[in-house]
């Protein structure tokens, strides 16, 4: 099977890239070893947030946020996106100082989407928050979407423009012969002039076949979701210095995260939970919101996510091959970036350039000239 572009990985980055490329008329094949959105992109917390982003990511993240607001119309699909403010709670003066320092930097750079709130406003927005919380920061542009649905929305929209999605086929072997990339799976061969590596937690393995070494690691952040509860919070909630993150969906279920990590078994395509850490997350949630005490946990899970040492993604042409590109290593906040990353990758593939400064995301940023 032949195409102009072969994308490895059917997560949100692969699907979004396929969509933007196919819309521009390129012929595209997406190769996915399991099924579309099986991993991080389908099981993440769905947070679509600017709040607390690394400044290096801010321009991309902002552009992505603008796309999210219109995404359902653009794709003619339902991504489940809802605009909801996101709040980072401060529990003490140290937290307030942290927020103030960030506020100053943000203002200097001209970013105005985050604002600090005091205790009274915090209490007003979150009536059930524990009385000892002193304030926080809010971003009103943020929100959430439904991960599995949103990733598949890109897939379906891409398919309407002719992109082909091959599920259940793992890339085993990749090499470039002259101008052609030849990719082999267990029983098929694919040829394309360009490859895009969107292989998530496995992307270092694909990068190596392209010729690029990269210090990627992987881990398994955990989440739990409750059975339906009466509505008690509108905004998505996090904390400045504690492992807390949760949101209540329209159907009443509450998703609780916070960054606690389970055990990642990448070779076996699976994860294991660390219950002691989940118990701590439960305790933290109750401390902040005593009303959650009697909530029933329905399900707990973890997803395999790719991390770079600086927690910034790789969005980059290959360093050691032509006509190869990378988009991976989103370090637990890549769902929000999906829409714009696809656009950037399509631009890179089709024109060799991007409107964004991508220097912080180069694949070879950890290469040292000397030892």
């Amino acid at each position: 099977m032949n195409a102009d572009v072969l994308i490895i990985g059917g997560g949100i980055q692969g699907c979004s890239t396929a969509y933007h490329l196919a819309r521009s008329g390129a012929s595209v094949i997406v190769l996915e070893k399991d099924y579309i959105a099986r991993h991080a992109s389908g099981v993440n917390a769905g947070g679509v947030r600017l709040l607390g982003r690394d400044l290096a990511e801010m321009p991309l993240s902002k552009a992505s946020m603008e796309m999210w607001q219109l995404l359902d119309d653009i794709l003619e699909e339902d991504t489940g996106f809802r605009q909801k403010s996101v709040i980072n709670i401060a529990v003490d003066e140290v937290d307030i100082a942290t927020l103030k320092a960030r506020d100053k930097k943000m203002q200097a750079l001209g970013h105005s989407h985050e604002r600090m709130i005091d205790q009274a406003e915090l209490r007003e927005i979150l009536p059930h928050v524990h009385a000892s919380c002193v304030g926080g920061a809010v971003s009103d542009m943020d929100g959430y979407a439904l991960p599995y649905q949103a990733t598949n929305a890109f897939r379906r929209a891409a398919r309407r423009f002719g992109a082909r999605f091959i599920e259940g086929q793992a890339l085993n072997h990749l090499r470039q012969i002259g101008p052609v990339w030849i990719a082999r799976t267990q029983d098929k061969t694919y040829e394309a002039s360009t490859v895009v590596n969107c292989a998530g937690a496995w992307a270092d393995q694909v990068a190596m076949q392209i010729g690029d070494n990269v210090p990627l690691s992987h881990a398994a952040p955990m989440l739990m979701i409750t059975a339906r509860l009466p509505h008690f919070t509108g905004p998505v909630v996090g904390a400045v210095s504690r492992q807390l993150s949760f949101k209540q969906f329209e159907n009443g279920t509450v998703l609780i995260g916070g960054g606690a990590k389970g055990f990642a078994d990448r070779a076996n395509n699976t994860t294991r939970l660390d219950y002691a850490k989940l118990a701590r997350a439960a305790k933290t949630a109750i401390e902040f919101f005593p009303i959650m005490r009697s909530a029933s946990i329905n399900r707990m899970w973890a997803g395999l996510e790719a991390y770079m040492p600086d927690n910034l993604p790789v969005i980059s042409p290959a360093a050691n091959a032509d006509n190869a590109f990378h988009a991976f290593g989103f370090s637990a906040h890549g769902f929000q970036m999906g829409p714009i990353v696809g656009k950037v990758m399509a631009d890179l593939v089709l024109t060799g350039k991007s409107d964004f400064d991508l220097s912080a995301f180069r694949i070879d940023r950890y290469d040292r000239k000397t030892l």
């Binding site: 099924y35 118990a279 959650m292 005490r293 399900r299 707990m300």
Partner: protein, 463 residues
């Protein structure tokens, strides 16, 4: 210090295994969520709330002997200990008195028993409809019965419960038997083999005679069942030569049992599709050892074999675990096992006959009408799933993510078998090809507060 073996489930299989292991000097812990040992068949047999528990049958009362032997053994038993996670690493998490605790063990033995096969006929989720097994649980544990109930479906357990009701003098509105008439013919070749277990055949026939002579209406070969009623059950409509209606506010459904595979699934053990029994079961060898060597499964939880066979299977599995623990040589294990192996071999033809005679009909396993509910928790209907399938969700997990079928509080424990078989039907591929939901711990809802009290130091760990 860790346990040599932790057993989940104190039914016939778990108790028999525990006795064998404890007698050989192994350190055994048995966890069961019930207040007393006994399992499904011997539920409350040792402390029956019924004034005349003899009405439940001699099998039932005989259970108290096994329970006594179990309680006299050196096996530790924690009752009201609800297991909600079993890890491949030998960690078992359970909650007792509202506090989640952990134990560590070298060998894990799962004896979780069976559950009733879901029967998604129109109206099956209306209040007033429950499984016949649930009705029996109420009878055994709380001496509660429903007057003038309709029993519908097929299989020995259904007839047993009807007989137990009748013996207690409770009025039964009707027995609506869905066993297809042709099954009586197709199972005939298996009768000679089954007669090797003639006491069982005899007991079964006796029960059928008991029901026939009681004079309750019995409708044989019934099909196209539909529970009547808007907000609650008011009766059952079905075809039996002509369209029939029986009115009642209690409809008890049952068409066989299937292994309880939530724990074995969450553990990621290999499972196979058992075509003869039309259900998934964990893959084990002749010693109950699963695809993970230090995890064994015995009793109905490893494949439906019935209570007598479950005791043999429990002992065999225990013998193999003793071998694994170095307490028996392979030769000793084989010698001690020969009798139980023979018992199981002798019972197999009877089981094959029952499986053939009462094999569930496809139209009762799969919802037939577009608006029949498949997933109670999220109220997903056949049409919602069909739509998801047509959008490209061919895998049970993809379908779950897309439609939320199986994402509610029961986590797909009810709709799992239905979804797997529906996809097999639509894909025109065997269930084995289609697969099953990826299940996860916890095995049940856990309150946030309960989880926050988790004691991560293992029981007996400080020694």
């Amino acid at each position: 210090m860790t346990y040599d073996c932790v057993i989940v489930g104190a039914g016939p299989a778990g108790m028999s295994a525990a006795i064998e292991l404890a007698n050989a000097g192994a350190r055994v812990l048995v966890l069961d969520r019930a207040p007393r040992a006994g399992g499904q068949i011997f539920r409350s047999a040792a402390n029956s709330p019924l004034s005349d528990s003899g009405a439940l049958g001699t099998d039932y009362t005989a259970g108290s002997k096994l329970i006594e032997r179990f309680e006299a053994s050196n096996a530790e038993h924690l009752s009201e200990a609800d297991v909600w996670h079993v890890g491949e690493d030998g960690t078992v998490l359970y909650t007792q008195d509202g506090i989640p605790r952990t134990v560590q063990t070298r060998e894990i033995l799962l004896c979780p028993g069976a559950m009733e096969r879901p029967m998604p006929i129109p109206g099956w989720t209306l209040p007033g409809v429950m499984t016949a097994g649930a009705a029996q649980v109420m009878l055994k544990s709380d001496a509660m019965v429903a007057e003038r109930a309709i029993f519908a479906g097929s299989g020995p357990l259904l007839y047993l419960i009807v007989a137990q009701y009748l013996r207690l003098g409770v009025k039964v509105a009707a027995l609506v038997d869905t066993t297809p008439r042709r099954n009586y013919l197709t199972s005939l070749p298996k009768v000679p083999g089954a007669l090797r277990s003639w006491p069982m055949m005899f007991k079964g026939l006796g029960m059928m005679r008991e029901i026939a002579s009681s004079g309750i209406p019995v409708f044989k070969g019934a099909s196209n069942l539909r529970v009547l009623g808007q907000d609650m059950a008011t009766g059952l409509e079905f075809g039996c030569r002509e369209q029939q209606r029986v009115m009642s506010n209690h409809v008890f459904l049952h068409h066989g049992v299937i292994p309880h595979s939530n724990i074995s699934r969450s553990l990621g053990l290999s499972h196979i599709w058992n075509a003869a029994q039309h259900c998934w079961q964990v893959q084990t060898d002749a010693w109950g050892q699963s695809s993970v060597p230090h995890v064994s499964v015995a009793g109905d939880g490893a494949g439906i074999i019935g209570a007598d066979a479950a005791q043999s299977a429990g002992r065999l599995t225990a013998l193999n675990i003793l071998k694994r623990l170095g307490r028996l040589t392979p030769a000793e294990r084989d010698r001690k096992a020969s009798e139980d192996h023979a018992v199981l071999a002798k019972m197999a033809p009877f089981r094959a006959f029952i499986d053939q005679l009462y094999g569930p009909s496809k139209c009762l396993c799969l919802p037939q009408q577009a608006d029949t509910i498949v997933c109670r928790c999220e109220e997903r209907r056949l049409q919602d799933l069909k739509e998801g399938f047509e959008q490209g969700a061919r895998d049970p997990n993809a379908l779950k993510s897309l439609t939320r079928c199986g994402m509610g509080p029961c986590q797909g424990r009810q709709c799992g078998p239905i979804v797997s078989s529906l996809l097999a039907d639509w894909r025109q591929e065997p269930e084995a090809q289609v697969g099953y939901y990826r299940l996860r711990s916890p095995q049940r809802l856990l309150s946030l507060e309960e989880l926050s009290r988790f004691q991560s130091r293992p029981r007996g760990g400080a020694e």
